[in-house]
């Protein structure tokens, strides 16, 4: 079940040599994500690489912390995720689970982590419920959530004059949540929703729905779906000349790797929100270059970046508390401000929400692109204090 990446560094020797006073702590990190499915590229092996980099950059060994990283494939299924998480906690001595894309899997791991009192640092999943009704004292939601994406993309698009929206929504809980959140934002910003079509999930042919969107007179078509559905929608939108026809496409959950798969020819002009892009500043570029060297030349996604930053912050808390007691470590993580090269400075809120800036990007045209992985131009920054759902609106029981 667990791919043991024997990453135990010669901790004892290191401790003796460096002569630090810290008592030796051994930590086991489980990277649980999609390794073969639709999210394998945006999380997958890259997240393991990111976690390893965090351990290295933190110099764990020198600090007397032995770190072992294990990983497994949850196949985007909540039952598989829950089985693995259970077994990791019960049998394999895993202390912290990181990444876990796919909302259903994340919610499952969220539950088990609380039940077993361990630590869960989510980077891959979108559902804002993790810090809303389902919030847990044992969970940190690091990278993004649907509220942030909807808000970023929705408000920015309306501000840019795209007032009339048409939603192409995957007909299941996640898609509906995305649509609902975005609708609220659009309407708050003075836009209107002129139509919605709920497509079966998963779907392969979206032409019929796109045609309905096209004839709706909307300024922008919001894609409230994910993964393969989004890719196919964008592909077919380009085929039907939607963007040439003057309508904009807003991907509500699109990742760098999706753009990579689609190619700029198809994806150009798409507007999307992310919390990290490799080509933002020297810090991100330097780190991403190191990442790419270890990962077949692929640039990191924001999910992988979130895994790095999350693991780093966790290790800092372990170091600070001198142990790995989950309650103490969680308290420390929330107390300490976060700081890393990728997300800059930030905080972790009471409900587990990691707070940082979000960015609105537009996908470049093939002409604008300088080379491989040069895909985004930054349109706007959504400051940290506006990027995420206000603490009191999430219905998180931890927040009184």
């Amino acid at each position: 079940m667990t791919r043991i990446r024997n990453f135990t560094l010669a901790a004892v020797a290191a401790t003796l040599l460096s002569g630090t006073a810290l008592a030796e702590t051994s930590v086991k990190i489980g990277v649980l994500n999609d390794r073969s499915g639709v999210y394998a590229d945006l999380s997958g092996e890259g997240s393991v690489v990111a976690a390893q980099m965090a351990v290295e950059d933190f110099n764990a060994a020198e600090k007397g912390i032995t770190v072992e990283i294990v990983s497994a494939d949850h196949q985007n299924k909540p039952d598989v995720a829950s089985t693995i998480a259970r077994q990791w906690y019960d049998q394999d001595g895993v202390d912290v689970i990181v990444d876990v894309p796919t909302s259903s899997a994340a919610l499952a791991v969220n539950d088990i982590t609380r039940e077993k009192n361990k630590v869960f640092i989510n980077s891959g999943a979108g559902t804002a419920d993790l810090t809303g009704p389902q919030c847990s004292p044992n969970t940190v939601h690091w990278t993004y959530d649907t509220w942030a994406l909807a808000h970023g993309t929705g408000s920015a698009m309306v501000e840019a004059g795209h007032k009339k929206w048409f939603f192409l929504t995957a007909d299941y809980a996640f898609g509906q949540a995305l649509e609902r959140d975005t609708t609220a934002v659009v309407e708050a910003a003075g836009g209107e929703v002129v139509g919605t079509v709920r497509h079966p999930f998963p779907g392969s042919d979206f032409s019929s729905f796109l045609l309905q969107a096209q004839s709706s007179g909307a300024d922008v078509i919001g894609l409230a779906n994910a993964g393969g559905d989004t890719i196919n929608s964008i592909k077919q939108a380009s085929e039907f000349g939607i963007t040439q026809g003057g309508q904009a496409i807003a991907g509500l959950l699109v990742f760098l790797t999706d753009i990579h798969a689609l190619g700029l020819e198809t994806a150009q002009g798409l507007v999307l929100t992310e919390s990290f892009y490799w080509d933002q500043n020297d810090g991100t570029r330097e780190w991403s270059k190191r990442f790419a060297e270890k990962h077949d030349g692929d640039m990191p996604t924001m999910v992988q970046a979130g895994v790095y930053a999350g693991v780093l912050h966790y290790l800092k808390a372990v170091e600070a508390t001198g142990g790995k007691d989950p309650t103490a470590v969680m308290a420390k993580m929330k107390e300490m401000p976060t700081e890393d090269e990728l997300f800059g400075q930030g905080t972790i809120r009471e409900d587990g929400r990691k707070i940082h800036d979000m960015y609105l990007f537009r996908v470049k045209t093939p002409d604008q692109s300088q080379g491989p992985w040069d895909y985004y131009e930054q349109v706007a920054t959504i400051p940290a204090d506006q990027a995420f759902r206000p603490l009191n609106e999430g219905n998180c029981p931890l927040v009184q």
Binding site: R3, D73, D79, T83, Q91, L107, Y172, F174, P200, F201
Partner: protein, 333 residues
């Protein structure tokens, strides 16, 4: 219809004495011994292996045995048994979580749902035979799948999560894995004994006759469609029992349980263990679940291995593990 060849191969095997030496419950002694052995394994199991894993094996063993009742003894290959397994899992999860039903009631409700679904789909599906029957059951299962994706109560792709295990009869806390384990063991064992009894009941006799030669059964005055429907419903119900129990074990009901690959998996378990044998599906389930558990690191290779097992079983190994074993021991298992 199904497995005619397999069974022909077995005819030389099965030469039970006129009155088989009967142990308790009218079982031949070697069957009784196996049941006792299984029970012993079940009791020792959680002290040796991870109990949650064992519970999963048991749920799937029951599922596979229920499926085998239909395929191995009814001669009907359903390619949509996930529908009953999964819908029961959803209903019991929802009943336990949203209505706060006690676990035994939740399981009962889930099982009853599967029974009703089995009755409706079965009544339609038995109008076709052979490959058509398989395809029709598959298509019905897809309808259940789409319904599960879209119905609000199933939670779409999130599934129904954090299902409370609750207190059995309102008394015994099932939270700890161990206490739940023994409930699951009891349910599984009850299910297996019931299936055994069905196979060896007057009804089971007629069933085997219909499987062997339907026109002849008709000419003897049996309304064969009613028997086929009855076994379909029984099989769906027991599959539902397995699904409902699984929902409590994992505190989760999800789309995986109703997806068509689940229907394929149960066929694989049965085929691998030995269809038409009493104990084969248990072994098949243990092997398949164990493989999924311990080979999970191999990623897509698990699917490939499963596919290869399918192909090999069909080409070379149609009797399955227990079927072969039974031939060696010259005793039907």
């Amino acid at each position: 219809m199904m497995a005619a060849e397999t069974r022909n191969a077995r005819t030389e095997v099965a030469a039970p004495a006129l009155t088989a030496p009967a142990g308790a419950m009218g079982m031949p002694r070697h069957h009784l011994l196996i049941f006792v052995g299984l029970l012993a394994l079940g009791l020792i199991g959680p002290f040796v292996l991870y109990p949650v894993f064992l519970m999963k094996v048991m749920c799937f063993a029951l599922f596979a045995c229920a499926f085998n009742l239909l395929l191995g003894y009814g001669g009907l290959l359903s390619f949509g048994h996930a529908a009953y397994f999964g819908s029961a899992s959803y209903v019991s999860a929802y009943a336990a979580k949203a209505w706060g039903l006690t676990p035994e009631l939740a399981i009962l409700l889930g099982t009853a749902t599967a029974a009703v679904l089995g009755l409706v789909f079965g009544a339609l599906a038995i109008r076709r035979q052979g490959i058509y029957f398989a395809m029709v059951t598959l298509a019905f299962a897809q309808m259940v799948y789409f319904f599960s994706v879209q119905a609000p109560f199933t939670g779409g792709e999130d599934g129904i999560q954090s299902v409370p295990r609750g207190h059995l009869f309102g008394l015994i806390d099932l939270g700890p894995d161990r206490s739940l384990y023994f409930l699951v063991l009891a349910i599984t064992f009850f299910g297996l004994l019931l299936i055994y009894r069905i196979i060896h009941s007057p009804f089971g006799q007629v069933l085997k006759a219909i499987r062997d030669n339907e026109p002849r059964s008709v000419s003897l005055g049996y309304r064969t469609n009613q028997y086929k429907l009855a076994v379909f419903v029984l099989s769906a119900t027991l599959a539902g029992l397995a699904g409902a129990t699984k929902a409590l074990v994992f505190q989760l009901a999800s789309l995986t349980d109703v997806y068509w690959t689940m229907s394929g998996e149960v066929v694989l378990m049965t085929l691998l263990g030995g269809m038409g044998t009493v104990f084969g599906p248990i072994v098949g389930a243990a092997v398949v679940v164990g493989m999924q558990n311990y080979l999970a690191t191999l990623g897509a290779w698990v699917t490939i291995i499963q596919g290869v097992i399918f192909v090999v079983s069909v080409l070379l190994f149609r009797e399955g593990i227990i079927g072969v074993l039974g031939r060696w021991l010259k005793k039907p298992l």
